[in-house]
């Protein structure tokens, strides 16, 4: 029972935050965002509180949750009109009244997959290799000892930030036995948010079809049922990227804030991936073009306040080479001093073989959409999302090139590369979904 209350507390915290951040978004999306933001931020607060001397106990965690809720409740009360409950209920009624049989079938299939994922995670315990050896292991020691000392001294503790481990800890401290269901909740939230983001630009039919294509991707569905960090990272990063795009094209207030929180929290799940730099780069370029000079500063401030605590903690334990500045310096020096055509070709082949070829159909779809709408590529709507995808692709290549110099056995980790680039598939599908090609394809 208390685990349900704890989870509701997390969702409510995130929900209140969305009331403050975003004036207009559907109720369902608010709940989904509430879960994502709530989980990310409450676990981050647990970590910060630990650094300040509060150990991982039920009482302390409950205090952190209640305190966080109290801080947000009062400002959110003034913004309760943003809930638009009547409008949201009307939209739900309309959804079921106006949908065609075909759309209902698609909706039913989506529901089937989401529910299946939930049932599987409730039934199966955490049992996959990495989840046991690292993520759930850390949670187990946190709950047992109330601190990190045991985990750190036993080794194989660092490398990945604590978000998912602390989410497990939260569940255990609140009396839960199996934290794996949190992953299917992230997956369900992803489906809701992805559909909502598609609806910003396209019809219900296309949004449903593209969402179905997303949730049935075998890699994504499988990861929704296991306690790995790849799917949570992808969900936070993809939604952060999509919200950045919506802000760029529609100038909807709040979406930029959502974007920076989600991208920031993605770095609280996996910190070695440098893709946030791609988003920041495109944002800086966009803001220089549109003369919005303060936006990148605001974005960076929030992003680094979420990303830095873990990086600083890691750097303190292992030395400054783990700090963000040192990592950027190393990368720049590799690029400046170690230019090799042979290595560029080697890395290019490696990236193509492990990141593109396994998902060749999705990349093919992306390429065909780009070719079909090539004449309209410089329309704002088409341009910025394309820029975000290409910037991420470029970063994947440059990152792999640098990695090939800093890690001599770089060719020995193709499996990691396949999992790391999981986030590209939702981006490619979204690009197809919002394109005019998609509309023409279904005769709309």
């Amino acid at each position: 029972m208390s685990v349900v209350l704890g989870m509701l507390g997390i969702v409510f915290f995130g929900f209140l935050l969305t009331l403050i951040l975003v004036p207009k978004i559907s109720l369902l999306s608010r709940i989904a965002l509430g879960y994502l933001l709530g989980t990310g931020l409450i676990t981050l607060f647990m970590f910060l509180a630990y650094l300040a001397g509060l150990r991982f106990t039920f009482e302390n965690t409950a205090k952190i949750l209640i305190f966080s809720l109290i801080i947000l409740v009062f400002p959110a009360l003034f913004l309760k009109n943003r809930l638009e409950i009547k409008k949201n209920l009307r939209e739900v009624t309309l959804f079921f009244r106006e949908t065609s049989s075909f759309e209902k079938i698609i909706f039913g299939i989506i529901l089937f997959f989401l529910l299946s994922s939930f049932i599987i995670t409730v039934y199966y315990p955490v049992s996959h290799w990495d989840a046991l050896a690292l993520y759930d292991w850390r949670a187990k020691t946190f709950v047992d000892t109330g601190g990190m000392e045991e985990g750190i001294t036993r080794g194989f503790f660092f490398g990945y930030p604590l978000m998912t481990s602390l989410a497990h800890t939260f569940i255990y401290l609140f009396g839960g036995k199996n934290p794996q269901f949190t992953y299917s909740l992230i997956f369900i939230g992803f489906a809701i948010l992805f559909y909502g983001a598609l609806r910003e630009f396209t019809s219900r039919k296309i949004s449903l079809l593209v969402t179905l294509a997303l949730i049935t991707i075998p890699g994504i569905f499988d990861h929704s049922t296991i306690a790995y960090t790849n799917l949570p990272y992808s969900v936070y990063y993809v939604m952060g990227t999509i919200y950045l795009y919506i802000w760029m094209v529609k100038q909807k207030p709040g979406y930029l804030a959502l974007s920076v929180f989600l991208v920031g929290l993605s770095s609280w799940i996996r910190s070695s991936e440098p893709f946030w730099l791609a988003n920041l780069g495109v944002l800086i370029f966009y803001c220089l073009w549109k003369r919005k000079f303060l936006v990148p500063i605001f974005y960076s401030l929030i992003f680094f306040s979420i990303q830095q605590p873990w990086k600083i903690f890691e750097a303190r334990m292992f030395g400054s080479q783990y700090s963000t500045i040192e990592s950027i310096q190393t990368s720049v020096s590799v690029l400046a001093t170690k230019l090799s055509i042979v290595r560029i070709i080697e890395v290019l082949i490696f990236v193509l073989k492990n990141a593109i070829v396994p998902d060749i159909l999705f990349w093919g779809l992306f390429l065909v959409v780009v070719l079909i709408q090539i004449k309209e590529i410089f329309k704002e709507k088409n341009l910025w999302f394309l820029a975000l995808i290409l910037a991420n692709l470029l970063l994947l290549f440059v990152g792999s090139y640098i990695f090939s110099f800093t890690y001599p056995e770089w060719k020995g980790v193709p499996g990691s590369m396949v999992r790391m680039v999981m986030f590209f598939l939702p981006l490619l599908l979204y690009y197809f979904g919002i394109s005019d090609v998609g509309k023409k394809f279904l005769g709309e």
């Binding site: 599987i120 690292l134 047992d144 294509a213 049922t225 093919g364 079909i372 394809f441 005769g443």
Partner: protein, 294 residues
């Protein structure tokens, strides 16, 4: 490696045939669009299209059935039990059938998707890019569904068959003997024990993996072979016996052999562990050595 029936007998692989088929189909459809196709091509096209529509439901049923059976058991199950039929090959036939259906877009898919004929942009301006797009989308959908559904089906089937399994039973169903062995060590060691495990090479991928075994043995400490102390600074108190390791004599207080079945009790032997002892020569042997105190 067996190159496949087609490759061996007609020297052309399945992939090559599929590529030729796709190009042939697209070309035939385009010539129909451009009204340059002969009556014979039109007749053949209609014949294939009609046969395809008749056979597709049966094929869909068979493909789903075989893939589900395969997933519910193990890879190769269907091949070894059903007249050497490989489900993946049928999956390819299924994709080909869907491809023909896509080519026949105006008659089938459009109706299914509820597209009004006046809006059929694709058919008004057919070109290779749009046909490619349609093929890719269908391929993605079918690939996703055909891979995800059997995986969901297999897991749900297990859940429905075994709704009341305990945590231990579920872990055992996933990890097998390894899980039993970890539980055996827990039962036979105190919580402050430090257990030395084999190196992480074959055949000790799991039992030799310090990161993995510590999860099951917690709060017990683990130590890599031939290290003086663990990361926590503890000296070994116990040593695993697993799949032929250790292959050197060990000064033991006692040796506990893990029973093969749950009904048997563990066999305890006192004295030195000798790898040359016939009992210890068994490659599947699992057990535990309590080390002699220095």
């Amino acid at each position: 490696m067996y190159s496949g029936f087609l490759q061996q007998h007609i020297w052309v692989g399945l992939r090559a045939i599929l590529v030729l088929f796709v190009f042939g189909g697209v070309s035939a459809k385009l010539s129909l669009f451009k009204k340059v196709a002969s009556k014979q091509i039109y007749f053949h096209y209609q014949l294939i299209s009609t046969l395809n529509k008749l056979l597709l439901p049966t094929l869909v049923f068979i493909v789903f059935l075989l893939l589900s059976i395969e997933n519910a058991h193990h890879p190769g199950y269907v091949y070894t039990r059903f007249l050497h039929v490989e489900p993946k090959i049928l999956f390819f036939s299924f994709l080909v059938a869907i491809f023909i259906l896509i080519l026949d877009f105006d008659d089938s898919l459009a109706d299914l998707l509820g597209v009004k004929s006046a809006k059929r942009e694709l058919l008004k301006r057919p070109d290779y890019l749009h046909l490619l797009l349609l093929t890719l989308i269908s391929w993605i959908f079918l690939g996703n569904i055909l891979k995800s559904v059997p995986s969901v089906y297999a897991k749900m089937q297990f859940i429905l068959k075994n709704p009341g399994l305990t945590y231990e039973e579920k872990m055992r169903s996933g990890w097998g003997v390894f899980y039993d062995y970890m539980m055996f060590i827990n039962e036979n060691t105190p919580p402050d024990a430090t257990i030395m495990h084999p190196p992480q090479d074959r055949p000790w991928e799991n039992v030799g993996n310090g990161g993995l075994i510590r999860y099951f043995l917690y709060p017990r400490d683990e130590i890599y072979p031939f290290k003086e102390t663990s990361n926590k600074g503890n000296k070994p108190t116990h040593m695993m016996i697993a799949y032929g390791w250790p292959d050197f004599p060990v000064e033991a207080e006692k040796i506990i052999y893990m029973p093969k079945t749950a009904t048997e009790s563990a066999e305890i032997v006192y004295g030195v562990y000798d790898p040359e002892d016939p009992r210890n020569k068994n490659g599947d042997l699992l057990g535990l050595i309590k080390l002699k105190k220095e």
